[in-house]
Amino acid sequence: MDTTIETIATTATVIATAATAAPNASSSSEIKELIKSLLVASLQPNKTVIITGLLIVLLFPVFLHQYLHGSDSDSSSSSSSSLPSILLAGPSSAGKTALLTLFEKRAGRRTTTTATDAIAGPSQTHTSQTPVSVELNAAQSSDEDKLKKFLLVDTPGHPKLRSTSLRHILPLDPKTGKPLPPNKAPNKIKGVVFMVDASTLAPSSPDSSLSQAATYLYDLLLALQHRYSRYSKGSKHPPTIPVLIAANKLDLFTALPATLVKKELEAELGRIRVSRSKGLLDSGVREDDVTGEKEEGDDWLGEYGSDRFEFKQMLEFDIEVEVVGGSVVGGEGPGVEGWWKWVVQRV
């Protein structure tokens, strides 16, 4: 209480000095008297003065914040960032953004039920540069009480911009630049949908996207593995993030079925794993770091020392990997239902 009174006293003296120093305060003594009485009243140790003083002291920062950050806090950034999110990743031109727009359009149709948007296909898309997120509802039926809203986060697939999706899995503290533990991360990731273009995945096809897709998947799985091994304390583990490998474009003639996609990716991931282990050290890593701090097999995906890589090995790190085929544009064969079901289950 004393401190508050002191604060008020200091403010009052400041005002008083300002008032006396002000040259344009007309010399009439009445005003001086008025100010004087006001100051005296404000320094009286009675309840009202103390309460108003307290209110001013406490509310000032709140108003200040409102004034400075008012305009962006009203947009739903604060509310939506706490929503669970599903990350959409994968190499360029796999169909990530198309899937996003398709889901969004379907959601729009379900709620508004207007016949204006009769075309249910995905929007036409091009190479993305920035991530975008869409708020979706995973409720099975409209009368379900609890609205299960979630964010679907689309990330660019261009190799130069891949770090954005890995940032989502291993977020950095914006202030210090140090890695953040998952429980403090700004958004809760419930799952990762990794899209691949099944029609160009065959290693024999002329412009095979296999090695590109596998490299990206390797980095992604390794990030998930690091997240698990770094932030586990005893038997307490960070919340699991399952991975769905969505083999897109199954409507095309050259597309591999989901089982083959899985086989090819596993084989390629195994090859990457071997060549990475044999590769040169990264610049900046000192010799003594390697033998000292770093654990053996820290950069080895899956079961250390195993011959072949299989997605099953990721279960050791609580990462469930599933491969489901489908097609964004529809046509014959499976559509996007399988993926949607997976997403709904995970949210």
């Binding site: 975008v132 290693p203 610049s283």
Partner: protein
């Protein structure tokens, strides 16, 4: 004509598009990745410039793209057309469409977590703009053309007295007499009909000016023309009516496009039609007439709908322009106002939540530029990087308790990371494996993987070559080293020493290495070619070709590289650059990158002597900035094992560290 016009967001969703001719999506995809992501165009700094004309056109596979970028909303406006065409109004179209679109749908676009917007109605706005601009474009064109025609007419015919009056009068007089609006268009059709080479665009003019008059029935126009034609050509024309009909079939045209017959046939067909009542004439005509009439009908119909839109569009454009000019003249008012905003600015600088302006950034950017220069980044690269970051940051709001400098630091880190990150995977071992033992299903034959190393004198080509060789030997490859330096004495012997050392070092690891040499004075390209053939024969996995050091601005020495690339067909050409070198690194990288002829460029850099410069690794930024070629390895010491993969994170940390 315009092939396609697209409005898309930076997140890749096409909001609205109009396609006239199918264009492969690869065109726009390549445009985005080249201009926005990889920033290949030299003037990438202007990418958020206000006008489409300020942005350099992007050319890809016979198509030209004009574009404009709305940074605040993250929307790109792209117009694609064939490079052969010269469309002067495209810039204007892109700009106008951008203004209209942002005005109409800006609010929808600002909503978070939504990618779809309702813009089905935009079709009409676009049509209106397109038509209007096409008209203005073709109007000027045809005006030029007409002026030219008149000139040639009078020039050529001034010494041909008899046919002149009839010809000129026939072409011109009806238009002056015709009171209805479409007289104008009649006048325009006359050059159209007489000159098959008149651009098709001129026919749009007809649509534009027709107005309500365009709907007039044929009979009515005929009637009008019968009234006017006799008045113009007088009794002479009436007398020659039958003759004109006969002449129509066999008219000959001279080089200037003028009738060389000396009858005074009217070239204005709509006027002469009045005179032609006979069956033969009528049989030939209607085809032309009917096509004309149908286009008139449909577009006039469209035009009535568009009239209101046109007004709306014009008001939008006008208000945007007014706002523009207002913001330019808008000076800070009053002393109190500036004082308050200054205090507020200072305050916000500490607390955060400040919207950054150019003035705020200027000083801080200067500091960042100085910092980069101190890190040995070439001035050219530093300036462009800073410009890019500044453009990116203008209008951005800083976070809570974030000062301008930390915001700039963060943005610079992002843009450096983006620049240094390679576009494709750089796993050397996997590449070698895929070449030397291709998958059984593919049709490629196994062959040795060829790598060559180029660079300026004394940067450490041979040293780095042997470092790479050591790395490959540890992975149990059979390596052949080709001595391509047939010029400097001692070069071959130097390699021989390296090979001897490497043999001893890796004996128990199972690798195998040999030297392929042909002594001095031979053609290096031929030696390299022989070495590759020899390696294929003997079953080597990798061929490493050393080359002579050469000055990058010596045309004579550099020109031999093209032949070398053609003869040896290397899978990878690496250039060794010193970390020590300063501004010259940009020129070195550029010249070497361009020296292998069309269709071949460098595949990567090795930055040597990184251990000698400490934090000043700016050379890496300079060369990647100049060429867009990634850095593969960095040399960090004197031993064979002192070769490292390049880590982007490491480089960015060093560059931004302020020690």
């Amino acid at each position: 004509m315009l092939d396609t016009f697209e409005i898309l967001t930076t997140s890749g969703v096409v909001l609205w598009s109009r396609t006239y001719a199918a264009v492969s999506p690869a065109v726009v995809n390549n445009f985005i990745s080249d201009v926005f992501i990889e920033e290949k165009s030299a003037v990438a700094g202007t990418k958020d410039g206000a006008s489409a004309s300020a942005n350099p056109p992007y050319k890809y596979d016979q198509h030209t793209l004009r574009w404009s970028f709305e940074k605040e909303l993250g929307i790109i406006f792209v117009a694609v057309y064939r490079s052969l065409l010269h469309l002067s109004w495209i810039d204007k179209l892109v700009d106008n469409i951008r203004t209209i679109f942002v005005n109409l749908y800006g609010d929808q676009l600002k909503k978070p977590n939504v990618t779809l917007i309702q813009c089905a109605k935009f079709d009409n706005y676009f049509d209106q703009q397109l038509q209007e601009l096409e008209n203005t474009g073709s109007k000027t064109d045809s005006k030029d053309l007409r002026a030219f025609q008149d000139e040639t007419l009078s020039d050529d015919l001034s010494d041909m007295p008899p046919p002149l009056p009839g010809l000129i009068r026939g072409g011109r007089v009806p238009s002056s007499i015709n009171t209805s609006k479409h007289g104008d268009s009649d006048f325009d059709t006359s050059p159209n009909a007489s000159r098959p080479t008149t651009p098709a665009a001129a026919s749009h003019l007809l649509v534009a000016k027709s107005g309500p008059g365009g709907k007039m029935s044929r009979r009515a126009r005929k009637l009008q023309n019968t009234n006017s034609a006799p008045a113009s050509s007088g009794d002479e024309a009436a007398a020659k009516r039958t003759k004109a009909k006969a002449a129509k079939k066999g008219r000959k045209w001279d080089a200037d496009g003028l009738a060389d017959e000396d009858d005074d046939v009217q070239l204005d067909f709509s006027a002469s039609k009045a005179a032609s009542d006979s069956e033969g004439e009528a049989g030939r005509r209607p085809a032309v007439e009917e096509v004309d009439a149908s286009t008139w009908g449909s577009t006039t119909k469209g035009k009535f709908v568009l009239r209101d839109l046109g007004d709306e569009v014009h008001s939008i454009l006008a208000s945007a322009e007014a706002k523009n000019s207002a913001s330019k003249t808008d000076a800070p008012t009053g002393l109190v106002g500036t004082g308050l905003s200054a205090i507020g600015g200072l305050f916000r600088n500490v607390v955060g939540g400040k919207v950054l302006t150019k003035e705020d950034l200027d000083k801080a950017m200067k500091g960042m530029e100085e910092h980069l220069l101190k890190k040995n980044v070439a001035r050219e690269a530093a300036v462009r990087l800073c410009e890019g970051v500044e453009k990116e940051l203008i209008g951005v709001k800083t976070g809570s308790f974030e000062s301008i400098n930390t915001r700039i630091q963060k943005a610079m880190e992002v843009s450096l990371t983006k620049m240094l990150t390679p576009t494709s995977s750089l796993d050397l071992l996997r590449e070698i494996d895929s070449i030397t033992s291709p998958p059984a299903t593919s049709l490629r034959k196994a062959r040795p993987y060829v790598m060559s190393i180029v660079g300026v004198n004394g940067v450490g080509k041979s040293t780095n070559l042997s470092k790479i060789c050591f790395f490959l030997l540890q992975n149990k490859y059979k390596v052949l080293i080709a001595a391509g330096d047939t010029f400097r004495s001692g070069a071959v012997e130097q390699l021989a020493v390296h090979v001897r050392n490497l043999k001893e070092l890796t004996q128990r690891e199972g690798g195998k290495v040999e030297l392929y040499q042909k002594g001095y004075g031979k053609d290096a390209a031929a030696v390299a070619k022989d070495a590759v053939a020899f390696a294929a024969q003997e079953g080597y996995d990798v061929v490493l070709i050393d080359t002579a050091g050469r000055r990058h601005n010596d045309q004579r020495l550099m020109s031999s590289l093209e032949k070398f690339a053609k003869f040896a067909q290397p899978d990878k050409i690496l250039m060794v650059g010193e970390a020590l070198v300063g501004t010259d690194s940009v020129a070195q990288a550029k010249n070497f990158n361009a020296s292998f002829g069309a269709g071949r460029s460098l595949d990567g850099f090795i930055i040597s002597k990184c251990d000698t410069v400490g934090d000043m690794v700016g050379t890496i930024v300079s060369i990647v900035h100049a060429t867009n070629v990634p850095v593969l390895f960095v040399g960090v010491g004197q031993h064979y094992s002192d070769l490292r993969n390049f880590s982007v994170k490491w480089a960015v940390e060093k560059l931004l560290s302020s020690a």
